[in-house]
């Protein structure tokens, strides 16, 4: 790996030594994170943690621990804090740090040769039975793995980057072309999370072929709604994403709204009408009459 910092010539020696001296395993994670921090390298620990997650996928307890570490590391770093101490990262380095993490997560990965062949056979297989194929050869992103671990938590972690105005399109253009802008993040997250096979005018339904549940998608739409309202994100005009957000925000509550309405109705009917003054009685009766067909 090439480090673009002046300091690297001094720092590389002790860190290599440290990395070799430390035994491999999840217990040493924090040590390696600290060692890489000396090199101002924040993305390698994340890659290492994700690699460990893949190799230990069978062990549930290790996966839970790693999941926590990965999400906490992302969240802390994007909030400008060192993991696991929570001490603030020096001001001059914050932007660089966040950029490293975001680049690592949102970088488009070319599909491996194994995935290519798998996709090719899929296409052939589905050509026979006529089912539509998803673009299996679309670039994948590391963020997908995190989202599949825990969508809501990952979105929370990414939200820290959305609170930083330096990643908005106006500021980012003046900084450097390496900065991952908010718009880019939204594009990637939408491509990964939103099941476009679902109609836009309804909330996401169950789709076994889609890796994310309706709940995950709802979490994403809420996330989008929050940042659109804050003015951080602006969707392009004519984007059907906004329609999806509206459908989604108003969907789940339909059930509860209906039950509460019937409850009001029942309450109004069961109220004892004894010795009610005439005006109130009339309005009460009128209320009962208008509500009655709704029951």
């Amino acid at each position: 790996m090439i480090y673009i910092y002046n300091r690297c010539a001094i720092a590389i020696v002790p860190t290599c030594y440290l990395a070799r001296a430390l035994p491999s395993g999840s217990r040493t994670t924090y040590g390696t994170i600290a060692a890489h921090r000396g090199l101002l390298d924040y993305s390698t620990p994340l890659l290492e943690l994700m690699g460990m997650l893949e190799s230990n996928a069978a062990d549930q307890s290790v996966v839970a621990k790693l999941k926590h570490d990965i999400l906490a590391y992302t969240s802390f770093t994007l909030a400008g804090r060192n993991f696991p101490e929570g001490t603030p990262i020096p001001k001059g380095r914050v932007l660089e740090t966040k950029t490293q993490i975001l680049q690592c997560l949102f970088e488009a990965l070319e599909p491996s040769s194994a995935e290519r062949t798998a996709a090719a056979t899929n296409t052939m297989a589905s050509a026979d039975d006529g089912t539509p194929v998803r673009e299996s050869l679309a670039p994948s992103f590391r963020i997908t793995k995190l989202l599949r671990l825990d969508t809501a938590e990952t979105l929370d972690a990414i939200g820290n980057a959305f609170n930083d105005t330096r990643f908005s399109i106006h500021h980012a253009s003046s900084l450097s072309h390496h900065v991952v802008t908010h718009a880019r993040m939204v594009d990637v997250l939408t491509a990964v999370l939103v099941d476009t096979a679902q109609p836009t005018f309804a909330a996401p339904g169950l789709n076994a072929a889609w890796p994310f549940t309706p709940n995950d998608q709802v979490a994403y739409f809420c996330f989008l709604a929050k940042f659109i309202a804050l003015g951080t994100i602006s969707l392009p005009t004519g984007s059907n994403l906004l329609q999806r957000i509206f459908s989604c925000l108003t969907w789940v509550t339909n059930v509860s709204a209906r039950t509460s309405q019937t409850r009001t109705h029942r309450l109004a009917v069961s109220l004892p009408p004894t010795r009610v003054p005439t005006n109130a009685a009339r309005s009460h009766r009128r209320k009962g009459r208008t509500r009655a067909p709704a029951a």
């Binding site: 809501a152 906004l242 509206f246 509550t253 709204a257 003054p277």
Partner: protein, 85 residues
């Protein structure tokens, strides 16, 4: 997560209200959002739309619908006499 919990409903209503407040009205189909909000009982959002249209009787209707069940006490003769005494 997606059960009919009142706090979650309130959270969604707040999100939707913030959203429609922040967006310029030609960005979305206002009538459709109004219908959706009405259907889910988001009366604050409904109120917001009718206030924008200066349709004050509808605003009042939405405000009345927004009253949580059980919070209205009907005035009885007994209650009246207590009030007057």
């Amino acid at each position: 997560m997606l059960h009919d919990r009142t706090d979650e409903k309130a959270e969604r209503e707040r999100l939707l209200l913030d959203l429609v407040r922040a967006l310029p009205s030609n960005d979305y189909d206002e009538q459709r959002v109004l219908l959706l909000a009405e259907g889910s009982g988001f009366y604050k959002v409904v109120e917001f739309f009718f206030l924008q249209r200066k349709n004050y009787d509808k605003v009042l209707a939405a405000a009345v619908s927004n009253v949580p069940p059980g919070s209205v006490k009907y005035l009885t003769h007994a209650g009246m006499s207590v009030l007057l005494s």
